[in-house]
Amino acid sequence: MVQVISATEAAAMVKPGSRIAIGGFLAVGAPETIIDAMVENENNNLHMIVIASDWENRGVGKLIVNRMVTSAQVSHMGTNKTIQAQMNAREIEIELIPQGTLMERVRAFGAGLGGILTPTGLGTIVEEGKQIISIEGVDYLLEPAIPSDFALIKAHKADKLGNLTYRKTARNSNPIMAMAGRITIAEVDEIVEIGELDPEEVITPGVFVNYLVLAKEN
């Protein structure tokens, strides 16, 4: 059953060295309140699993500029020069992953799968060091599940069982990251009573969610 906690409590839970999957796409749908609390709390030595490294002053970019991230599995870093500089200085270790592959690898962990076979990346540097498996004469890359200790996500509404809805394109990676945290913490705009969400409109069932944090007002 979910518990409502403060962003500070959430940040304190994320121990240095943790693997954290963070929702959002170019900072839209990012759990900014929890991220700010983590910056405050100086959580460090984090491994981050994200679609994009966002901007220096928005989304997970704030963790980057505060040097809290030592390794990342990420798909897009084009909006954040700091992570590029840190990579070139070997201060951060980066695994670049095609976005669709990243989502399936994260989902696989949440779904109890060991990995997936994808054609994406065949014949490119993405295939380096990976097993190629042929199914009915077609080659695929074997891409293993990506585990995460914590998933930090942003949803729109939650009920007190942790059922979540999202808003527009702020949904993006959040429902997938939510499945995949050993502990999942959802930052939400609003917490409503049980029964206020239509069972048809729930996107992330509460079974995936452990803690709720109320987003600070913009």
Binding site: M1, A111, G112, N163, P199, V202, P205, G206, V207
Partner: protein
């Protein structure tokens, strides 16, 4: 099975659940547990066809054709329920998000192996969701009569029927006993009132480890 035996097993299963647990009950005897959830404890039942928050059977005449459980019976849903597709449902199951599953068994053995889906030469119903449930749930509880209708042991040294999953059973609850499955064997934890430890041992083919403390239930 006699009604009082079903109720006894159901009540004992229900004690395994903690407040807020997500639980999947197999068809038949395991569903009896839903009738014995203690007050103050909320357990959320999953139906693997795509529902969290399964509620009781609706009153006659109020059935909804689109509301069934995994056994095909009409159900309702509780406030806070959610619907999802079957892939998500099994992502929940296989991904370790279900706290406990309770299933019936044809045989279970001292290595925690379970056989509950196929008797070669008889009807082949298919494994349905059972293999995923036993593989993925955090706690796998087998609920069954201790012996079959001919009085033969169902808790064996080694299953002879095709397995549902290998080494995944955590707890066996029968009309005679509660047995915990640990890596080094089967621990007899509880016996039914009016039974002796020897009664249970004699009705069990598997080796039972008898701790100092065995309580009644």
């Amino acid at each position: 099975m006699a009604l009082d035996k079903r109720a006894m097993i159901g009540a004992r299963i229900a004690k395994e659940f903690e407040d807020g647990d997500y639980v999947n009950l197999g068809i038949g005897l395991p569903t009896e547990a839903a009738n014995h959830i203690p007050e103050g404890i909320q357990v959320i039942f999953q139906s693997e066809n795509g529902l969290l928050g399964a509620g009781p059977k609706p009153p006659e005449g109020q059935e909804d054709e689109d509301m069934i459980n995994a056994g095909g019976g009409y159900i309702t849903c509780i406030p806070g329920a959610s619907f999802f597709d079957s892939a998500t449902s099994f992502a929940i199951i296989r991904g370790g998000h279900i706290d406990a599953t309770v299933l019936g068994a044809l045989q279970v053995d001292q290595n925690g192996n379970l056989a509950n889906w196929l008797i070669p030469g008889k009807m082949v119903p298919g494994m349905g969701g059972a293999m995923d449930l036993v593989t993925g749930a955090k706690k796998v509880i087998v609920a069954m009569e201790h012996c079959d209708k001919y009085g033969n042991a169902k808790i064996l040294k080694q299953c002879s029927l095709p397995l549902t999953a290998k080494g995944k059973v955590n707890l066996i609850i029968t009309d005679m006993a509660v047995i915990e499955v640990l890596p080094d064997g089967l621990y007899l934890r509880e016996i039914a009132e009016e039974l002796t430890i020897d009664d249970v041992v004699n009705a069990t083919e598997a080796d039972l480890i008898i701790p100092e403390r065995v309580i009644t239930f």
